[in-house]
């Protein structure tokens, strides 16, 4: 069966884990890995896994985009270079999946709004943050039943799974996730808290989601909606598990989740990284399925 050919930008842990997930996909094929350091382990690993590589950044990829028929690119670099990467690749008709906090394109949480983005043939979608991917489905599961005045999420991450970029820019993570709880989750006000725990052995990612509904919550319908949503996320993140709840206290609904990764390249406790790569892969698959079925066509974005 024909597959949509992909490029991965950023040869770190996320990029490497993406290779595994994309290689398993029935509709995607990883073709290029883009790095900036010719000596990097990530590029060597990608070569061993059969990918073409360049250490020349996105500019090293551009001459090969058309001849290799690259249609989707994943950017796992940084917010600072993403805009430029996206502009150059969009101009060649390559759709971008943004795993950085840049968020130039619309925010995407697959079970909530991926279908809309695919229908509109968005050429750049942003995957928000690990905590966003892990918690916004639950917020949405509540807000689609009853209006939510305030939603708050607490993400606990294993210290070993949090890279230097996130550490040095923790405020960015807070702002991006808080805003997405509102825009995608559907709460009128959102707040995100992050805890980095160094326990050994490393703790599996935990997330607690609390929603305050305007009116008294309908326990039966909200619980049903949450369980249904968990099932949707489990389709692409099998380790997405309800630990406790939903519990109700007045207008407060609370859900306690755990996210174990698949253990592809990243260790299982790093569910926070796995849910990003899994959601990005799921997003690419939906676009790929639509392209292969002839329902959508990617178009080059003219440079203004």
């Amino acid at each position: 069966m024909k597959k949509i050919r992909c490029a991965l930008i950023g040869s770190g842990n996320i990029g490497t884990d993406l290779i595994y997930k994309i290689q398993r996909s029935p509709v995607l094929e990883p073709v290029w890995m883009v790095g900036i350091d010719p000596e990097s382990e990530g590029l060597a690993r990608a070569r061993d896994m059969g990918l073409k590589t360049t250490a020349g950044g996105v500019d090293g990829l551009l001459p090969h985009v058309l001849e290799d028929n690259i249609q989707i690119a994943f950017d796992a670099t940084s917010a600072y270079v993403h805009a430029e990467n996206s502009r150059k690749l969009n101009a060649l008709g390559v759709m971008m999946i943004d795993l950085t906090p840049a968020a130039i394109g619309p925010l995407c949480v697959p079970p909530v709004n991926l279908r809309q983005h695919a229908d509109k043939v968005e050429m750049n979608v942003n995957m928000i943050s690990c905590a966003g991917q892990a918690t916004i489905p639950i917020v949405n599961a509540v807000s689609r039943i009853q209006s939510v005045e305030y939603a708050e999420i607490v993400a606990s991450l294993a210290s070993k799974s949090v890279g230097p970029g996130t550490r040095a820019n923790l405020d960015e993570f807070t702002y991006t996730t808080s805003s997405a709880i509102e825009k995608v989750g559907g709460a009128r006000r959102g707040k995100a808290l992050a805890i980095i725990n160094p326990a050994e052995p490393p703790m599996i990612m935990r997330n607690t989601i609390s929603c305050l509904t305007d009116d008294e919550p309908d326990h039966v319908r909200i619980t049903e909606s949450i369980l249904q949503m968990i099932g949707e996320v489990q389709k692409y993140v099998p380790g997405y598990r309800l630990v406790n709840g939903p519990i109700y206290d007045g207008n407060k609904v609370q859900v306690f989740m755990e996210v174990a990764g698949l253990g592809d390249y990243l260790p299982k406790y790093a569910g926070n990284l796995d849910i990003m790569t899994a959601a990005a892969t799921r997003t690419a698959e939906m676009f790929a399925e639509e392209i292969l079925a002839g329902r959508i066509q990617l178009k080059a974005v003219e440079i203004a």
Binding site: Y150, E152, V154, S156, S159, P164, R167, A168, N169, L170, D171, T174, Y175, K191, L193, A194, I195, I196, N197, P198, A199, M203, R206, T208, S210, L212, V243, N244, G245, I247, K252, Q254, F256
Partner: protein
């Protein structure tokens, strides 16, 4: 005067006292200290010569949340009410990256805060560079605050403190959030910091009294090179409270350590203002002793009692389990979660 003969080694040392009762004490008051009460307490502490007074929500900037409770007023309202009333004291705040942000620090500064504890878990200093740098840019007295310091050894604390100094911290604190440390633990960590930090970088100690060691640990810290000590008048703080500041001031006076604080005045603040404000006597009781014994974050105390009542599991069992799972400050949601899991295992849920 009393005899000072057996403690002459610290005679003449100058130590800066930093009161926590209007911030750490918020935990013990379920965040329910009013703006008027804050002004009254802060004014009295200012009159007693306490040089630094920390205010706001117990979780500091960004603390108002379902996770940490909602205070009676916004942090901005507390700071704005207290700061203009201070004759000599500086108003300080707490900022835990991941909870508070630089926007909130700017706003606290605009309201009159001039000192900040930028706090991370004792192994995660590298989540604080932007906040420490921003505090310095604002011209604030900037402290790097290594919480749950018993969970990192002396060499590790020294490395983390050095990182904070490199971001711009003027003071590095060893923070015994669980009230678990003993004097030798404190000395080892402060001594290791003193050995690596620049001579002009100050060292501080923030104690909790869960094993009744607040005073002894603070003295040990000074012996090892600390020059800033956090405490709370009447010990109003999380767990069994912080190092009781009036007691510490008295000990300092006996030892000839100079704090500049008027002992009798601060004793009066404790007895006449703070104690009547307490909802429960803040002291070493079964649960707060469990915190100190098991090495659990002091703020978990009241949360564990509530979760225990709701799900029929003893607070002590919950706290011991949280200690075993190595939960750290900020993971208050895991208290309810742990209580529910334990209740399920016992067939109660």
């Amino acid at each position: 005067m009393m005899s000072q003969s057996n403690t002459s080694s610290l005679k003449g040392r100058k130590v800066i006292l930093h009161d926590m009762c209007l911030r750490d004490g918020m935990h013990a008051k379920r965040e329910q200290i009013s703006v008027d009460q804050m002004v009254k307490v802060a004014t009295a502490l200012d009159d007693a010569g306490v040089p630094y007074i920390q205010v706001t929500h117990g979780g500091g900037l960004g603390g108002n949340s379902l996770q940490h409770g909602f205070a009676l007023a916004s942090n901005e309202e507390y700071i704005s009410a207290v700061a203009p009333k201070m004759k000599q004291a500086k108003v300080s705040v707490l900022l835990i990256p991941g909870l508070g942000t630089m926007k909130e620090l700017q706003s606290a500064y605009d309201c009159g805060a001039r000192s900040v504890h930028v706090a991370t878990h004792c192994t995660e200093a590298d989540t604080s560079p932007q906040h420490i740098a921003f505090a310095r840019k604002l011209g604030m007295d900037t402290t790097g605050f290594l919480m749950m310091a018993h969970l990192n050894d002396a060499a590790g604390i020294a490395r983390q403190g050095k990182l904070m100094e490199s971001y711009g911290a003027q003071t590095v604190y060893v923070t015994d959030s669980a009230g678990y440390m003993l004097p030798d633990d404190v000395k080892a960590r402060i001594g290791a910091l003193r050995a690596v930090l620049n001579p002009e970088t100050e060292i501080g100690f923030h104690g909790h009294h869960n094993l009744g060691m607040g005073i002894a640990n603070s003295i040990a810290a000074i012996e090892a090179g600390a020059s800033r000590i956090d405490g709370s008048v009447a010990g109003l703080g999380a767990g069994a409270g912080n190092t009781p500041l009036e007691v510490f001031a008295a000990v300092c006076e006996r030892m000839g350590i100079e704090t500049g604080v008027d002992l009798f005045r601060i004793m009066d603040v404790a007895e006449d203002i703070i104690v009547p404000m307490m909802d429960h006597m803040v002291r070493v009781d079964r649960e707060s002793l469990t915190l100190g014994f098991a090495g659990v974050y002091s703020t978990f105390l009241l949360h564990a009692k509530r979760a225990g009542d709701r799900f029929g599991v003893s607070a002590r069992d919950i706290l011991v389990e949280l200690g075993r799972k190595k939960m750290i400050g900020g993971q208050e949601d895991m208290i309810m979660d742990t209580a529910m899991t334990m209740a399920k295992e016992r067939g109660l849920l």
